[in-house]
Structure formats: structure tokens, C-alpha cells
Symmetry: C2
Subunit: 228 residues, 2 copies
DNA sequence: ATTACTAGGTATCGAGTAC
DNA sequence: TGTACTCGATACCTAGTAA
């Protein structure tokens, strides 16, 4: 029923604390920070800082461990995600829309793409929002482990939204599209909402990318992905 | 007497509004944003949003102009500075210490450097905090206009602090130093606190950089500046 | 020392509304 | 339409103080 509980927005002071922790390496190792010092750093009392830290703990942004005297704080992935999103927001202001380029290898799909791209619920959205009716098949590109991290940051960008829907008694999830430059026709990267941290990304276009680019499984391919 | 009035810290909501304005180009052109829409964007009422905008105006972060119906908002340099500082804070978390590289041309100093670098008040600080006693003369590098912007961002970085002092009945201002890589001996960029947006930056080292690098006025030179 | 509770004062919010 | 005021209600902060 409920995939995401209503998450009360974090206050500015709480985000500040997350930033301080991240700056001290709190994203990968527990960091000592007393509520008093936390309060001094953000300009509030020890009591208020402590409340913020308790709230951050309860909301799942930090995990606290108590030593004999002082607590240690470790950021959760949720917090790192939030900070990265903030970072990207600023980055976009000063550096413009983001893009990422990498080299991958063409890999065979599981045939799933064809099935999904045939669903009318998706087709109408693609046609409206992407400007073309997609060829019913995706070009799958395998990402090397060293590029996984930077490609993964794409999910924080603003993209073209494809909504989920219900049809034929089952649920089809949503996805987000990003303009992709593969050296051929206009195409888009698709990131399903429910992705499994795969090392394969999928591209769609109005025509068969395999044919248009004259590539086959195992070929290397240069890819650029842009923010929408 | 008072160089900087006590500036009450901006609230999270106010910073959010600045971000929204910056994202709409409000840093260089007035942007239409009604208090109602502002409120919706940050999740508060029209009244609260309006109060925030009034406060931002009064504090000198935005300038408002009123048309027939809707107000237009333009960010001041103060606001852009604040956002850039935030950006850099996040950048440092995710990308590590910043650095910037550019190509400039060696230019003749005004001989001022020699005078300042002879002041004992400066010499003791340089020796202590930089690890060497500077040669009494600076290497001046002219920055091309296209690189001015990125070089200018250096002033937001964390650097090595040199404090101002009083001596011989006059005041000597403070400055901040940043490690510089010029292809020769260890050297530092110096940014005086009271800088005049010059297109010339100054480097110091333990020896004469002119001699060590065998450069003369007008020569091109590759420079890298790092965060401390 | 810490973290964290209660009490009470104040800052801030949104509704209503004037302009 | 807009912006911006007054006015209760309440959310939040700090001080005091347990644990």
C-alpha cells in the first residue's frame, strides 16, 4: 500500500548537522560529536542540538552508538543521498545541466524491453514526452565497475518522467528518461524506479539502435548522458 | 569601527528561496515569483513566504521591483556569494579538496610585494604557517578574462590564514594563502583580504620564482592552485 | 563529564483581511 | 489578481536539572 511514509521535511539545522558529519567522514566511519559541540557549530543550545540528533536518528538519517562518555554518529545511505541531492542542486546552479560520459559494451537484453515497450500505457507517455514512438526493443549497455559510481549519480538528476500505471491486472512501475548521445539517432536512457543497482543500462530510440549504430553484442560503445 | 554588522543567520527556508531564484536565473535577471508560488515551492503559506522575501530584501540578499501585479526578484552579489559558499561546502564533501588550473602570463609587479614581504609582522607568520621564509618579491601572473571567474572562486576555499597587524603607525591587512604548483619549488598564492578584483595574482616562494622557473615578463605559465 | 527530560517564555506560523 | 498587515494558536527554544 504505502511505499513511502510521509517524511516530514528536514529542518535547515538538521541538514547542517548532516553536512558537518559528512565533512568529518561520517559517511563511512562513526564520528564523535557531542551535542554541545554540535550546538556550538550550528549556533543553538546543547538541548536543541540533541533534539536534532535524536530526530535524525529516529528518521533514519544517522545511527548512534554510545560509548562510555560520548556518542558516535554514522550517516545512513538515506542521509548521503539527501546530501548528494543538495549538492547536485547547487552544482546545477553554478555549472549548468550535468552530463556524464563513459564507455560501455553492448550486451544482450532479456527480451523484457520489447514486452514493456509494447504496453500502450508506456507508449502514449513516451510519444508525448519524448517526441517519438519508441522502437519496441532496448539497446542494453554494460557499464564497467569503475564507471558504476558516476553513472549511478544520474538518478539524482532531473529527467523526463514516465508514470507507472495499472493494466491487465498487474502494476507497471514508473521510470525516468535522460537524453543520451550514442552517435546516432535521438535516444534516451531509461532508469526504472525499481532498479536493482544493475550494471546494465537501457536505451530507447525511434528506430532499432542496434541497426542504426551497426553494433552487436560485445562491441564497445561511447555513451553520453545529459540532464533533461 | 565595524567592518561587518552582526548578520543574523539565514533560515533554511530563506536559503531555499535563494536557490529557487538562482535556478531560474535570478542571479543575472529579475525573476517573477509571487509570494504564493514561493510558499508552495517551499511548503509554507503565502504569508510566511512573503515574510521571508521581505526579510531577504531587508538583509540585502534580493532586490525587489514591483510591476503592476507581480514582483520581480533579483539576487544580489551577497546572495550569490552565499550560494557559492554552500555549493563549495557540498563539493568538498563529494569531490574532495578543490583545485583549479589555468594558464596566465608573467607580469611585472609594482615592487609592492618586496615592501610587504619585508615586514617582520608578515615574515614570522609566513615562516610559521607556510614552512619557509619567503623570498622578498612576488611572481605576478596575469589571468585571462575567461579564467577570472574560476580563479575568483578560490576565495571561498579554505586556505592558510595570515593575520593583519599594526606596525609603524599603519595597518597591514590580512591575507589567505593557497598552495600553488608552478612546476618549480613549493610556492603559494596570496589573496589579500582587501583585494580589488584584480586580474593579477601573486605567488611567493622561498626563492626567487623568476629565477627558479627561468621566466620573464610576458611568458606564458601553467598554474595550479589547490585548497589547503 | 555526557545525554535527555520538563517547564515556561517567545518566536513563528497561518487565517483573515486591508490595500 | 497581487503584497503585506494584525492576531490568536502553537511549535520551538533555552534554562534547569535528572540520570
Amino acid at each position: 500500500m504505502s511505499t513511502s511514509a510521509r517524511r516530514p521535511r528536514l529542518k535547515g539545522e538538521e541538514v547542517q548537522l548532516l553536512k558537518i558529519l559528512a565533512g568529518s567522514g561520517g559517511d563511512h566511519v562513526p564520528v564523535v560529536l557531542t551535542s554541545r559541540e554540535a550546538g556550538e557549530r550550528i549556533g543553538v543550545s546543547q538541548q536543541a542540538a540533541d533534539r536534532y540528533l535524536m530526530a535524525l536518528d529516529k528518521e533514519g538519517y544517522v545511527t548512534r552508538t554510545f560509548g562510555a562518555r560520548k556518542q558516535r554518529l554514522l550517516l545512513t545511505p538515506l542521509a548521503v543521498d539527501l546530501l548528494r541531492k543538495e549538492y547536485h542542486g547547487y552544482r546545477r546552479i553554478f555549472e549548468g545541466p550535468a552530463k556524464v560520459t563513459f564507455r560501455g559494451t553492448v550486451s544482450s537484453g532479456l527480451g523484457e524491453g520489447r514486452y514493456y515497450l509494447s504496453q500502450p500505457g508506456y507508449v502514449v507517455q513516451f510519444t508525448e514526452r519524448l517526441g517519438y514512438t519508441p522502437f519496441p526493443g532496448t539497446l542494453n549497455v554494460r557499464v564497467s565497475p569503475s564507471d558504476m559510481l558516476k553513472v549511478g549519480s544520474v538518478k539524482h538528476w532531473s529527467g523526463i518522467r514516465i508514470d507507472g500505471f495499472q493494466a491487465s491486472g498487474r502494476t507497471f512501475g514508473g521510470a525516468t528518461c535522460y537524453p543520451g548521445i550514442l552517435g546516432g539517432p535521438v535516444s534516451h536512457l531509461i532508469i526504472p524506479d525499481r532498479t536493482h543497482h544493475q550494471d546494465v543500462v537501457e536505451f530507447i530510440s525511434a528506430v532499432s539502435l542496434r541497426e542504426a549504430l551497426r553494433v552487436k553484442d560485445g562491441d564497445g560503445i561511447d555513451v553520453e548522458i545529459r540532464e533533461a
